[in-house]
């Protein structure tokens, strides 16, 4: 089936689809641990600067994506203050690479992920955690054996939401890593590029279909997964 889709799409289109999936997958996977930690900190801890952290996490949601992309460029670009350190010390370059696209997608999807996980964490009954503690479980074990499993539906929902957002990210990506076919041209960038060309409408249309299918499948999958997990968690 994949071969069929690949033939139906032209090589440039197929490349954009594969790149988008790769970018969204890594963006979601790598931001998940940080997302859970941030959600936990916002839901459970009180510390100075909590409102500031909350604001920073939500910033990409309300800033124009172009601004987020520009901020990424001046901090993670080759001559940016973080990008320079990454390049000099670890040889990691993000700007104008697919890894940069993944970073942009992760940053843009982060607030959605944290929100979903935070809501699920706040719904976990702290009395169950106290019960686990009274039975001899240390705080890390309480988190692993009680909090995390009970938060799982929210984590699944947050991850899927983040994946969908990462697939569709456009503004920050194109600003940070540009629109280089095979390197940083994700599906939305490709659709944009095809629409600029005089005879690109058919290719753009095919990519639109693929976008629709991916988005619907992601929603459906998350629905099934969340329902299955919720049933497990609620007992019954």
């Amino acid at each position: 089936m994949i071969d069929g889709v690949a033939t139906w799409l032209g090589p440039a289109e197929w490349q954009a689809v594969r790149l988008s999936l790769r970018v969204a997958f890594w963006a979601t996977l790598l931001s998940l641990p940080l997302g859970i930690l941030t959600a936990y900190a916002l839901a459970r801890w009180s510390f100075p600067g909590k409102q500031l952290l909350n604001g920073i996490v939500h910033l990409p949601l309300i800033l124009p994506p172009v601004v987020t992309g520009y901020l990424l460029l001046i901090s993670f670009g080759r001559r940016g203050f973080i990008g320079q350190v990454l390049d000099d010390w670890f040889g990691i370059v993000l700007s104008f690479r697919w890894t940069g696209a993944a970073l942009a997608a992760a940053v843009m999807a982060f607030p959605l992920m944290v929100r979903a996980i935070r809501l699920a964490l706040e719904a976990v009954d702290p009395r169950l955690e106290a019960a686990a503690g009274s039975l001899g479980a240390s705080p890390p074990w309480v988190f692993l054996t009680v909090t995390l499993p009970l938060t799982l539906p929210g984590i699944v929902a947050g991850a899927v939401l983040a994946f969908a957002k990462a697939i569709g990210e456009f503004g920050a990506t194109i600003t940070f890593v540009s629109n280089i076919p095979g390197q940083t041209q994700t599906m939305p960038s490709a659709i944009y590029a095809f629409l600029q060309a005089p005879d690109g409408e058919a290719a753009a249309g095919r990519l639109v279909v693929v976008s629709l299918v991916i988005a619907m499948s992601a929603l459906l999958l998350s629905e099934i997964a969340a329902r299955r997990v919720a049933r497990r968690v609620a007992g019954g």
């Binding site: 009954d125 009395r127 106290a130 009274s134 240390s138 054996t145 009680v146 007992g235």
Partner: protein, 363 residues
């Protein structure tokens, strides 16, 4: 002493200041809401850090603020039975039961799963999830989970408050067995006089953050100052016979009592709780009264209270029986210590829930 609790804690207007010790067995923290029961049990559990305190269980210090020694909750080796069962919804009954045991050190295991499952009669539930259990079943699983953690102290915070009478009757015997068969001390929070009468080895009566009385239940329950309206007596009895009219005849050192039919065979020793406000006194042996239960005894103590009430204590046989009367009645009858008189107990005063089927002297 098995359990020693010394605490001072201030929270807004509430001041807790107690220093009590209890022998082995089941110790009940008894008092109205706001008396400090929950504060005490949360401090023992490590969920609350008191201003000052020292808590020692069988020589093992959970807390000693003088030396800065504070064990975190998960190192206290407790079995906490909560009012709401608090079973983990994402785990099966079996996994819930084994949760605490997994954290207890291998060598410290006191109970095997089969043993506890048999005792609580929950074998058929093992593969189920907590969501599908009834209230009584949840309570039993919660009790089993606490036991399997091999605790050094069992805490129970009104474990039956959320259950109806039938479910209570289902759970009470397990606490009795635990008290009689296990050497682990139990600290039990309750505001039910009948639970105290049935379960307690020791009662700590609390009011407004202070201890008003400590001792065996027959002494504390009869202490009007500590118990107020809830003053009651515990009488030793044993089952004499079951009669065809649905009554069971009990024999006490002071005479016979009649109660609604009991399930235990003749000869079973039991304790009967009689609420002080359900006792009337009379000089003459009563005639033409519908009450069946009359015991005669000698007045040994009289307390006139500030309000309209008075409390008269009688010696009936080898037991003490407390009657709560009005001061006016005491004056009209001319009651005085040393007098002999008859105590009329309404049959309903001896409710089955208040009857404790256990030896009189604990241990």
């Amino acid at each position: 002493m098995t359990l020693a609790i010394q605490l001072q804690h201030r929270f807004r207007d509430f001041r807790l200041d107690i220093d009590v010790q209890a022998p082995p067995g089941l110790t009940v923290l008894f008092g109205p809401s706001g008396s400090g029961k929950t504060t005490i049990i949360n401090t023992v559990a490590g969920l609350l850090r008191p201003d000052h305190g020292r808590i020692v269980v069988n020589g093992w210090a959970l807390l000693d603020s003088a030396s800065g020694h504070i064990l975190p909750p998960h190192r206290r080796r407790l079995g906490y039975v909560f009012q709401d069962a608090r079973l983990f919804p994402h785990l099966s009954v079996r996994q819930n039961l084994l949760y605490g045991r997994w954290f207890a050190r291998l060598s410290a295991r006191d109970h095997e799963l089969e043993q506890v499952v048999d005792m609580l009669g929950i074998g058929h539930l093992l593969s189920r999830r907590p969501g599908s259990l009834s209230g009584g079943e949840k309570s039993r699983v919660a009790l089993g989970r606490a036991l399997l953690a091999s605790p050094r102290l069992i805490l129970a915070d009104e474990p039956m408050a959320a259950l109806d009478e039938a479910r209570k009757a289902e759970i009470l015997p397990f606490f009795e067995r635990l008290r009689d068969e296990s050497r682990v001390p139990i600290l039990y929070v309750s505001h039910s006089g009948s639970e105290v009468a049935r379960l307690a080895t020791t009662v700590i009566a609390l009011r407004e953050g202070r201890v008003t009385a400590v001792g065996p239940p027959d002494v504390v329950l009869g202490d009007a100052e500590a118990m107020g309206q809830d003053t009651a007596s515990l009488l030793c009895a044993s089952i004499a016979a079951h009669h065809d009219d649905g009554l069971t005849q009990l024999v006490t050192p002071a005479g016979y009592l009649w109660v609604a039919r009991l399930g235990d065979p003749p000869g079973t020793p039991i304790r009967v709780r009689v609420a002080a406000r359900d006792v009337m006194l009379s000089h003459q042996a009563p005639q033409g009264l519908s009450a069946l239960n009359v015991l005669s005894g000698t007045i040994i103590d009289m307390q006139l209270e500030a309000g309209p009430s008075a409390q008269v204590t009688l010696r009936v046989g080898t037991d003490r029986l407390v009657a709560r009367l009005t001061r006016r009645s005491v004056g009209q009858l001319g009651l005085a210590p040393g007098q002999r008189c008859h105590a009329i107990l309404k049959t309903v005063a001896v409710a089955p829930g208040d009857i404790r089927t256990a030896p009189l002297t604990p241990g």
